[in-house]
């Protein structure tokens, strides 16, 4: 249905990535599927539950290899989450896999009551999240999921930035005793530096600096890292890049440290600016009393422009160039 996807990266961004030594990995969905399959092969209590979503979840090989460990629910997301809760209550390690747009909207009451409130340790996997579906439009975008899920008690919310974070997040979710939401896109991603370990609730500093801090989550982190490198080369600015895979519970200390150390903070997310990472960080900083320039970069509260994911990222300034511009303006450069 969608037109051929243009690259998420401009030629300049690709050159910057080369200079940083970044190698292109695969999609986080592929990483999720193969990690889950390995976990399931080692433990027959691991189950994938799908809503006619095994193909879009990259779980077709899993389904062939482990037909007894994939439960098909059909196109019925409310039932998907309810069934997942029931399975988890009986000791199963359950990954409920469905497009993020449907999973976190149509089944929101099941997530709130049957998973989070009843504390059934389901891992909800929102696939093709954010604007992954590009020109398929608003019905298929999930620009609300972080906001609505943040308002639900007892749910860890994780948006991995690259294959490393995706792999570690799936393993951590399988071991978790409480509900988790994982958010994956479907574009190939650069592998980011792995000098810092991954853990739920912990920020990862990918690049040091004190002029400005980018706090980014999910698949926007790479664009923040490229912007930081670009700003260093072109504007002599040293920017800190913080990958914040866990949107809840937030690593508030990393946010406050950035606010103390840097002149400005820019948050970046593939999500509407309402209620996501940016407003979460704003709440932390505002209540701390630390004075710092602050901007939230995300999808604005408007009818989202039509286009591929790359078009939409460019349109709203979520790319290297857009983020560098925002940073310079905020710093008055």
């Amino acid at each position: 249905m969608s037109a051929p996807a243009p690259s998420m990266y401009s030629d300049a961004a690709k050159k910057t990535a080369d200079k940083l030594g970044l190698k292109m990995g695969r999609t986080n969905l592929d990483e999720f599927a193969s990690t889950l399959q390995a976990l399931a092969q080692a433990n027959r209590n691991v189950l994938a539950v799908t809503s006619d979503s095994r193909g879009s979840g990259k779980l077709a090989p899993y389904g062939k290899a482990l037909p007894n460990q994939i439960i098909e629910i059909g196109i019925a997301e409310q039932n998907l989450v309810g069934v997942a809760a029931g399975l988890a209550s009986c000791g199963k390690t359950v990954f409920a896999v469905s497009p993020a747009c449907f999973l976190t909207a149509r089944s929101l009451e099941q997530i709130k009551n049957d998973v989070a409130y009843s504390d059934n340790p389901v891992t909800l996997v929102g696939i093709s999240a954010g604007v992954s579906y590009g020109a398929l439009g608003t019905t298929h975008h999930s620009l609300h999921d972080l906001a609505v899920l943040r308002a639900i008690n007892n749910l860890t919310i994780v948006a991995p930035a690259d294959n490393f974070e995706a792999r570690e997040a799936v393993k951590a979710a399988a071991a978790a005793k409480h509900p988790v939401y994982l958010r994956f896109g479907k574009s190939p991603l650069y592998d980011l530096p792995t000098t810092e370990p991954f853990a739920f609730g912990k920020a990862r500093i990918l690049h040091e600096g004190t002029d400005l801090a980018f706090i980014a989550t999910g698949e926007t982190v790479v664009h923040a890292l490229l912007a930081a490198a670009h700003l260093e080369q072109t504007a002599d600015l040293r920017c800190r890049v913080i990958s914040m895979p866990t949107v809840k519970p937030l690593d508030t200390e990393a946010i406050l440290q950035a606010a103390r150390d840097c002149e400005a903070v820019v948050t970046v997310e593939e999500h509407m600016v309402c209620g996501g990472l940016g407003e979460a960080c704003a709440g932390v900083i505002a209540q701390s009393g630390i004075p710092v320039h602050f901007r939230i970069v995300g999808i604005p509260d408007e009818y989202t422009v039509t286009g591929s994911q790359a078009d939409i990222f460019r349109h709203y300034g979520l790319t290297m160039e857009g983020l560098a511009d925002t940073a310079k303006k905020l710093l008055g450069r």
Partner: protein, 279 residues
């Protein structure tokens, strides 16, 4: 197993306790509590393999009360079965009590938190699939209201239960034909219920939901070996208290002092008659 006569007496005492609790705490879903009392009585005293001592046993039977608003009835039966002291019931809905107005796992004996309608059946489908995967012989039960059947999630779950041939799953409909706004058939007609579930691939039986023999016979074993079972229990909302019976306004409501005295008088007389008959 308790005799029918013992069950009759238990139901009367449950109803008395439910009314006491609702009057004391000032809230409750009175009519539905009373329509499902006999169903809960049969489940917890004749059918379910659950007890305080075995509640963490993975092999226990599961009961999820999808019509969560009738928590007073469930909590009353759980107290009687020894899950917690009966005195706790009077803390329901009170400040800082964990006895919330809908079932919660903070209360001993409650399997799943419920209260939003249309949630119990999907959860039970998951539990029943888990049982099949593990070759476990536990059974899974849920109780739904007839008004609740307007929620589409029930029908998603009904389809899945038949698809996976979940013979270890039994759903009971407390079919009291009333919901908060009036007759279920006027608010959103769900008839013909038996035919609908049969068409979805369920084994169906319609029973008198206040008849212990019929309830026991329909619940003591699955109705089919390759299908989920549904028991449509025809009940009377407000059962056991004359002025509440089949009156929609008692969906929730607290009796006035005079109504309370009348309710207790009716139930006490019935209890005395039963106790006399038992001697």
């Amino acid at each position: 197993m308790l005799t029918d006569q013992q069950l009759v007496l238990k139901s009367l005492r449950y109803r008395r306790k439910i009314i006491e609790v609702i009057k004391h705490v000032g809230a409750g879903h009175t009519g539905g509590d009373l329509s499902c009392t006999d169903i809960l009585n049969v489940l917890y005293n004749r059918i379910l393999r659950v007890s305080p001592a075995t509640f963490v046993d993975p092999k226990r039977d599961r009961y999820v009360q999808s019509k969560g608003h009738c928590a007073e009835a469930l909590f009353t039966v759980l107290a009687d079965r020894g899950f917690f002291p009966e005195a706790d019931l009077l803390t329901m809905c009170q400040y800082q009590s964990h006895y919330v107005g809908h079932p919660t796992r903070h209360v001993a004996g409650v399997e799943q938190n419920t209260g939003g309608l249309g949630h119990g059946l999907p959860i039970c489908v998951g539990m029943a699939i888990a049982g099949k995967l593990d070759n476990a012989d536990y059974r899974v039960f849920t109780l739904l209201g007839d008004g609740e059947l307007a929620e589409g999630s029930n029908w998603e779950a009904a389809m899945a239960a038949a698809h996976y041939k979940l013979s270890n799953l039994t759903a009971i409909i407390d079919c009291n034909t009333l919901q908060i706004s009036g007759r279920t058939c006027d608010v959103m007609n769900n008839e013909p219920l038996a035919e609908k579930f049969a068409a979805f691939g369920w084994a169906v039986r319609t029973v008198n939901g206040h008849d212990f023999n019929e309830l026991t016979a329909s619940l003591q074993a699955p109705l089919a070996s390759d299908k989920p079972s549904i028991v449509i229990a025809q009940t009377i909302k407000g059962k056991g208290i004359t002025y509440m019976e089949d009156v929609a306004k008692w969906h929730h409501g607290v009796p006035t002092d005079e109504e309370y005295r009348q309710a207790l008088a009716e139930l006490d007389m019935a209890i005395a008659l039963q106790e006399g008959a038992a001697k």
